[in-house]
């Protein structure tokens, strides 16, 4: 029985060039020719002479590409080469107007990185997969082609020539799920350091996956070596996968196809295959590789070498935003959050929710007149920031804004709640009011809406409790004689339905019941 062993070669490409409408900080420029990179829907409306290989046009390297590329390589753990060169990779295809692609084959700008996948990234508990990155290189994008019918293909050159970063991994991935997890992780790392314009869903990241299988036992189907890893079966390439699910499904489809082929005595041909959403269980041959195409790599004589100052590399590395893993760890250790809450907080609203949370905690600390630290208030703050505040935004279907409920106001609400000056219900009410635009200060709202919690005395609680107990003699009997403590909750519920419930605090009510029923001292 064949084991699936898919040394997978995902080569996700991240679109680097920043675009004014998506990210105002960076210069709009193409990778090697100065055409705008605004993603328009009008085909062939943003094309420079070099993009369509007009004779006499020359490539001009755009320096704006460099910083995002550096950040991407550093976050993937790569070593940055101080000098790298550009090469031409020759092949004829209608989406490659010059007949060659400018890339960095011999001397890429970054090598030898590592991405580690753990159960945090979707693997099984305790499982760990190390994916080595062979190299990260700058290269040109091809044009976009669209098959009208079997005789006609339409070509849009808008994105042709734009700079891409290609991340080539070694064949260390052995299941479709691991491959998808790897791509997801790479995407989140690139997002974290601002090296992508858009995500996969908008074409900002694409993956080309190489798939091969081999038998678990025996030596057949192990005669190929790719990127220095030997003992592999012959691989085929699936190009341009643009969703995570697609990656998984495509790999499964290709794996199954190769296994079927090998089991029936056939031989896997080196091919380029395609996969589409409409036929998720099969891959389709695009073009043959004919014993691996000879790309006749030639150093490009127009573009000068790319050399980095070592100071620049260390500066970029130092000033990079922390990765999600680092942020989560910080939240857990410093604020005492659970890993689950930390992960959610870190991922919301491009990190703004996290900053808001930190502001709320800082405000809370300044309000307290006794000794507290972040861990004391962290957990309660995160519940409010994530769930109470979060649900207000989501039911309203509005986008996050830190000005709707200023951090100071939220901190004040939480503070009053902790002091037992207001009840939980009142706190939520105040939150709602502020969200809806109430500009009064929290203390004003409390005073004017008469939300102060006037604590009832224990005797009043007991009076009410006795009232309830009288109405529910059966439950009392169950608790006192038969020890069914669960019924206490029922009586609690009844107490909280009492007309004076807004003045009651649930913990106090429970204490009163316990005193009366169980004789507990509180």
């Amino acid at each position: 029985m064949d084991e699936l062993d898919t040394p997978v070669f995902p080569a996700p490409k991240a679109l680097l060039m920043q675009v004014p409408c998506l990210n105002l900080r960076k210069a709009p420029a193409n990778g090697v020719a100065a055409a705008s990179t605004v993603p328009t829907s009008e085909p062939n409306s943003n094309v420079s002479a070099f993009d369509i290989a007009v004779p006499g046009s020359l490539p001009v390297f755009q320096p704006a590409v460099v910083l995002p590329a550096l950040r991407a390589a550093i976050v993937l753990g790569c070593h940055i080469e101080p000098v790298s060169y550009f090469d031409r990779k020759h092949y004829f295809y209608h989406d490659q107007p010059a007949g060659y692609q400018i890339t960095q084959y011999y001397h890429p700008f970054a090598r030898d990185g590592l991405v580690t996948l753990t159960s945090d990234d979707g693997l099984e508990a305790g499982q760990e997969v190390e994916v080595y990155i062979k190299q990260v290189q700058l290269e040109q994008d091809t044009a976009r082609s669209q098959e009208e019918d079997e005789h006609t293909t339409l070509i849009d050159f808008n994105r042709c020539g734009q700079a891409l970063v290609e991340i080539i991994s070694l064949p260390n991935l052995h299941s479709p799920r691991d491959a998808a997890a790897y791509v997801r992780k790479v995407q989140s790392l690139l997002y974290a350091v601002d090296a992508v314009t858009t995500g996969m869903e908008h074409g900002g990241l694409r993956a080309d996956v190489n798939v091969s299988v081999r038998r678990r036992d025996g030596d057949s189907d192990r005669s190929f070596e790719y990127s220095g890893v030997s003992g592999l079966g012959r691989r085929t390439e699936i190009k341009n996968l643009s969703t995570l699910k697609g990656i998984e499904d495509a790999i499964k489809a290709e794996r199954d196809r190769q296994i079927r082929l090998l089991e029936s005595g056939g031989v896997v041909q080196p091919e380029t295959r395609g996969w589409s959403l409409t036929h998720p269980h099969e891959t389709r041959r695009l073009r043959g590789k004919e014993g691996e195409v000879d790309y006749r790599y030639l150093p490009d004589a127009d573009i000068p070498p790319l050399s980095f100052d070592l100071d620049l590399i260390s500066h970029v590395a130092r000033s990079m935003p922390p990765t999600p893993a680092v942020l989560v760890r910080h939240l857990v250790q410093h604020y005492g959050l659970s890993v689950k809450d930390a992960r959610i907080l870190e991922s919301l609203d491009d990190g703004e929710r996290l900053i808001y949370f930190q502001e709320v905690v800082a405000e809370l600390l300044s309000l307290h007149d006794y000794e507290v630290n972040e861990i004391n208030v962290g957990k309660i703050a995160v519940n409010w920031v994530l769930f109470e505040v979060g649900s207000l935004f989501s039911t309203d279907e509005s986008t996050w804004s830190r000005d709707k409920i200023p951090a100071k106001s939220l901190a004040e609400i939480i503070h009053q709640l902790r002091k037992n000056a207001i009840t939980g219900a009142s706190a939520k009410l105040i939150l709602r009011l502020i969200f809806d635009g109430d500009s009064r200060r929290v203390s004003e709202i409390i005073r004017q809406e008469k939300l102060m919690y006037v604590g009832m005395s224990p005797e009043t609680y007991e009076t009410i409790a006795k009232d309830i107990m009288q109405n529910h003699p059966q439950e009392v009997k169950d608790i006192v004689e038969k020890g069914k403590i669960g019924k206490l909750k029922f009586l609690m519920g009844q107490m909280m339905r009492h007309p004076r419930r807004s003045e009651m605090s649930a913990p106090e009510a429970e204490k009163a019941l316990r005193r009366l029923l169980l004789g507990e001292k509180s």
């Binding site: 290989a53 020359l58 001009v60 390297f61 020759h90 209608h94 007949g99 030639l298 127009d302 000068p304």
Partner: protein
């Protein structure tokens, strides 16, 4: 011109051959080759249709036509003139060049930093990444100043940089400095050392060419230059290296001609049934010499041949560059720590072509390889990116002048030394003959 600049006689054209000799026509017995690949520009200048001609010199394509047509053909240092708009043949060799009747005409078009005429062609261009930037041009100036200072025994060196002056350097206002530098650089009286490379004295050299060479050297000696024999050992491999490297780059640069976005109209199915793209179209629309060089280049870049051909050719190219650096006095401004070589020469003077212009009917029966040999003297300067100019050589007193005996003499300088190369050509190599003794018909270069 030859299609895509590939050819030495301007005969590889879809529009017909260029030839010198109206009476007979191209197939007549007397028609001469105009040289290539920029033969059309040369002919236009020679026949008075244009004052100045522009072409590209990849392996000698400006200098060879200039020699055959008794004109002046100048190839600047690689990167002096922007290549934007030049249809590329071999990016690392293509150099825009100028052909004209006299050197002053070239000054006018080219411009040089030490010359008062404004720069027209010679200036930085952001659109061409291989065009020398402003700071590179300043570095060239420093190298020239160092050479001049060493030759004239001058103690002061006015450095045109924005660094702080060293201990024995004088700090003066920039404009004053610039004026002094220019005046210093344009000092004409200094003993120029002329190098004569032994390896250029090949067996195939036509006797008239050899005579012209020795006559030129005597002439220069009479004008006060020192003649110095030198050796450039890698010369004999330079031609082979060129014919590996240029076609290799050409096979890459010509891959874009597939008829999809521009070019001749497609009237048939583009792709072959088995999925081969474009080859039928390219076969139909590219000329035979072009196809030959593309195939040659593709082969030498292929995985099996790369190490034996392309890499080796690159190594030879590096050797050719090093040979030149070792004989020149001026340090190569492109090298970080290049030193002045006081035993070096300032210019190398050699013939431009091994023979006078051949008859077209002989050219047509020659094999491509025999055509390539015409480039043997021009290719080394191309490989090293050095400035080179071809001027009409001296006329043999015993042979009445006619276009069939035109011989061109070439001056090659160190990288960046364009100004002084032009200056030598202008002042030392144009007065072989008193122009007053030449009749009007003798002065024209075109056969009637």
């Amino acid at each position: 011109m030859d299609e895509f600049g590939m050819g030495s006689h301007s005969t590889n054209s879809a529009y017909g051959e260029v030839f010198n000799g109206l009476k007979d026509g191209p197939t007549g017995g007397k028609a001469l080759s105009v040289g290539g690949s920029s033969g059309g520009s040369a002919l236009a200048v020679a026949s008075g249709l244009a004052h100045v001609g522009i072409g590209t010199d990849t392996g000698g394509s400006i200098r060879l036509p200039a020699a055959y047509m008794s004109l002046v053909g100048f190839k600047p240092s690689y990167g002096q003139i922007s290549r934007k708009g030049v249809v590329p043949y071999a990016n690392s060799l293509d150099t825009v060049g100028i052909v004209a009747k006299t050197v002053p005409d070239i000054w006018l078009t080219y411009g040089a930093s030490a010359h008062p005429i404004i720069e027209i062609l010679q200036k930085p261009d952001d659109n061409d990444p291989t065009c020398l930037t402003f700071s590179s041009r300043e570095r060239i100036k420093v190298a020239m100043l160092r050479r001049k200072a060493a030759v004239l025994g001058s103690k002061w060196l006015l450095v045109p940089s924005n660094r702080r002056p060293e201990k024995n350097e004088v700090l003066i206002p920039r404009e004053t400095r610039r004026k002094l530098q220019n005046r210093f650089l344009s000092q004409r009286k200094w003993t120029r050392r002329i190098g004569v490379p032994l390896e250029y004295n090949i067996e195939e050299m036509h006797p008239l060419v050899r005579w012209a060479w020795t006559a030129t050297l005597s002439h220069l000696e009479g004008l006060g230059c020192e003649i110095v024999p030198i050796s450039l050992p890698s010369t004999r491999h330079a031609l082979s290296s060129y014919y590996i490297l240029a076609p290799a780059e050409a096979s890459s640069n010509l891959a874009k001609y597939d008829g999809v976005r521009y070019g001749a109209r497609r009237d048939e199915v583009a792709d072959d049934a088995d999925g081969t793209l474009y080859s039928r179209f390219r076969a139909a629309h590219l000329g035979p010499e072009v196809k030959r060089r593309i195939l040659l280049g593709t082969y030498s870049l292929s995985a099996g041949a790369m190490d034996n051909y392309f890499i080796q050719a690159q190594k030879i190219r590096r050797m050719v560059q090093r040979d030149f650096d070792s004989v020149f006095r001026m340090p190569n401004p492109l090298q970080e720590d290049a030193e002045l070589n006081m035993d070096g020469v300032d210019f190398i003077v050699v013939p431009t072509a091994p023979s006078p212009p051949p008859r077209l009917r002989h050219v047509k029966t020659a094999t491509p390889l025999e055509s390539y040999v015409n480039d043997v003297f021009t290719v080394p300067a191309s490989l090293a990116g050095l400035p080179a100019i071809s001027v009409p050589g001296p006329r043999h007193p015993d042979h009445p002048w006619q276009p069939e005996v035109a011989v061109g003499m070439q001056v090659i300088g160190q990288y960046g030394d364009d100004y002084d190369v032009l200056h030598l050509a202008d002042n030392y190599l144009t007065d072989f003959h008193d122009p007053n003794t030449l009749s009007r018909t003798q002065q024209t270069k075109v056969m009637s």
